[in-house]
């Protein structure tokens, strides 16, 4: 895959993720301007059950398998983190 293709794909992963999070988790805080690097847990955007939904969504939507130990703050704590994780998994 060329770098350009990856960037395009990253852009769509990012867009899809953002759409999913806004639709499912941001209804309580419509004023919140979530940036891609914001901490989803600290901001209260996603709670413990939310992460499970998020992981299931990521697996289904992007066709990757997530191992138990991979569901960490680094990989799922922010939109940037998830995009990078999906990217690594898809490249692997």
């Amino acid at each position: 895959m060329s770098e350009e293709q990856i960037l395009v794909q990253n852009g769509s992963v990012r867009r899809e993720l953002r759409g999913f999070i806004e639709e499912n988790f941001l209804y309580l805080e419509p004023e919140l301007e979530l940036s891609d690097s914001d901490d989803l847990l600290a901001l209260g955007v996603v709670d413990s059950l939310g992460f499970v939904e998020l992981v299931e969504e990521v697996q289904a939507r992007f066709g990757i398998a997530v191992d138990d130990i991979e569901i960490t703050e680094e990989n799922f704590g922010s939109i940037d983190g998830i995009v990078a994780f999906v990217d690594r998994k898809q490249a692997a």
């Binding site: 209804y27 309580l28 413990s48 130990i69």
Partner: protein, 505 residues
């Protein structure tokens, strides 16, 4: 010597093993010696603040070392604590503070504003946003509590919507803790991983029991990142994992966990809601070495029954037998014991039964009935059960509309009141719908006032502003009119079955 009060037990472990780790939280380790010392110093600070023996102190804190210090500090001050959900909203907190006539509120820094506003509504109890700021050596240590004194005032959702304060003496708490310690065979070698909030009595008792036996409690703020839980299970060599069905559902769906050895993990406990049979199998495949204890209880007596792990295969749907030192039986409707197979309300006898609801004689009379002796009262659980030929108990249903979501109680009335407080809403009905992750999901059905329309997302926001997180409906369905029964009441049964029919098979 056995400790008579919660706090004396901490003293005993700290004296014998000061360097043993009591609590691991956010990767920092609090020893028994340090927890004991800080509890004493916080108690002096509370006394200087005017907190006296028998007073109530509200705790609005997420799981942390500080929360453990606050609990034991309040006990050392001879006072009782009310552990409250840290996401509690202003109005409900105000209600609780006024009801408990709280002498002080200790909260997390980021809850200071809400707690301050609530305290003002309730008569101006002082609000402390940093428990460690209370710690001082400058003053006399307070007089300790007796075992008949109030230890904890635990608020639980009542059927009328207002929370009720369950009153537990030191003797109640210690009796329940020791009974559970006995059947779980807990001792000082245990290392318990607690992801449940200490504001939930199931979480709270993990701390209390752990300290009683001198074990180590690994305390997490939640189970947000299961990868972290897996790491803790391995690295902290966890021996006991208490959970609710949601936690086990998540863990048993993780890829790779069943291949891990986890040689130290010896027991798992479940309560809050029954485990579906398929999930029991999945848990046993994921943790083949650990024994699974299926249990049932309610805050009013902490725990009622447990199923010995050896019985799980032959009686998968049972919640077992009364916990050691207690009795529980199915009422036949006339004050006698029902025959095997007959359904009736579950009744409970023992020293774990609460003293009543705080300041609520009517509510107390509904749950606590005259007992075998003039001084004894037995607990009517409000839950319907049946027993098999050997006395093993099976949960049949609730005699009210209680929903169990994430293992926590949701009273439909409390959510409906908030829905109806929106000016657009004419009718509201809240029902529980089976959900793989939540146990039951909270579904709200509403209809608009004439000429108005309802924006479902807007209404969920309204709920989020007035209710704790677990009470906010996952789904809001807007109808023109809600279906009614022949008596003119909203037909919740029809709404619930309509929702079930939409679920994927």
């Amino acid at each position: 010597m056995s400790a008579r009060t919660i706090g004396e037990d901490l003293r005993a472990v700290a004296a014998a093993e000061p360097d043993r780790v009591a609590v691991v939280a956010e990767d920092s380790r609090l020893t028994y010696g340090r927890l004991d010392e800080l509890a004493d110093r916080v108690a002096i600070g509370l006394r200087k603040l005017g907190v006296a023996r028998g007073d109530r102190v509200a705790l609005v804190m997420a799981n942390s070392e500080q929360l453990a210090i606050a609990i034991y500090g309040v006990q050392r001050a001879g006072a009782a604590y009310s552990p409250l959900n840290p996401t509690i909203k202003r109005d409900k907190l105000g209600y609780v503070l006024a009801n408990a006539e709280a002498a002080a509120v200790i909260c997390d820094e980021d809850r200071g504003e809400v707690a301050g506003a609530a305290a003002e509504m309730a008569g101006g109890a002082p609000v402390i946003t940093d428990v460690l700021a209370l710690a001082t050596d400058d003053g006399e240590p307070p007089a300790p509590a007796l075992d008949v004194d109030l230890s904890a005032l635990i608020y639980t959702s009542g059927s009328t919507g207002d929370p009720k304060g369950v009153t537990l003496t030191h003797r109640n708490v210690i009796f329940a803790a020791d009974s559970i310690i006995e059947y779980l065979e807990m001792d000082a070698r245990d290392r318990i991983l607690c992801v449940l909030p200490l504001s939930f009595d199931y979480g709270l008792y993990q701390l209390l029991m752990s300290v009683r036996v001198g074990a180590t409690l690994v305390l997490e703020r939640g189970f947000a990142f299961p990868g972290r839980m897996v790491r803790l299970l391995e690295e902290e060599r966890i021996t006991g994992l208490p959970g609710v069905p949601t936690v086990f559902q998540v863990l048993s769906s993780l890829r790779g966990l069943s291949e891990r050895e986890l040689p130290d993990l010896r027991f798992l406990t479940n309560t809050g809601a029954a485990l579906p049979a398929g999930l029991i199998d999945a848990i046993q495949r994921t943790f083949p070495r650990a024994r699974l204890h299926s249990m049932y209880g309610l805050t009013e007596c902490k725990r009622v029954t447990h199923l010995p792990p050896g019985q799980l295969a032959s009686r998968p749907g049972s919640v077992g037998i009364p916990i050691p030192g207690t009795d529980a039986w199915v009422d036949d409707g006339d004050g006698g014991r029902a025959a095997p197979g007959e359904v009736g309300e579950l009744m409970v006898r023992g020293s774990h039964v609460m003293q009543g609801y705080w300041g609520d004689p009517d509510g107390t009379a509904e749950r606590l009935r005259p007992g075998r002796w003039p001084w004894e009262r037995i607990l009517a659980t409000g839950d319907l059960f049946r027993a098999d030929d050997e006395g093993y108990l099976y949960f049949v249903g609730r005699s009210d509309e209680l929903i169990k979501s994430r293992g926590e109680k949701v009273m439909p009335r409390e959510v409906e009141d908030v829905l109806l407080s929106s000016p657009d809403v004419r009718q509201a009905a809240v029902v529980g719908v089976p959900n793989r992750l939540l146990g039951e999901a909270v579904h709200a059905h509403v209809s608009p006032e004439p000429g108005q329309s309802i924006d479902a997302a807007e209404l969920r926001r309204h709920c989020g502003a007035h209710l704790e997180d677990h009470l906010v409906p996952q789904v809001v369905v807007v109808h023109d009119d809600l279906p009614l029964t022949s008596n003119g009441k909203i037909d919740k049964r029809a709404l619930a079955s309509e929702a079930r029919s939409l679920l994927p098979a």
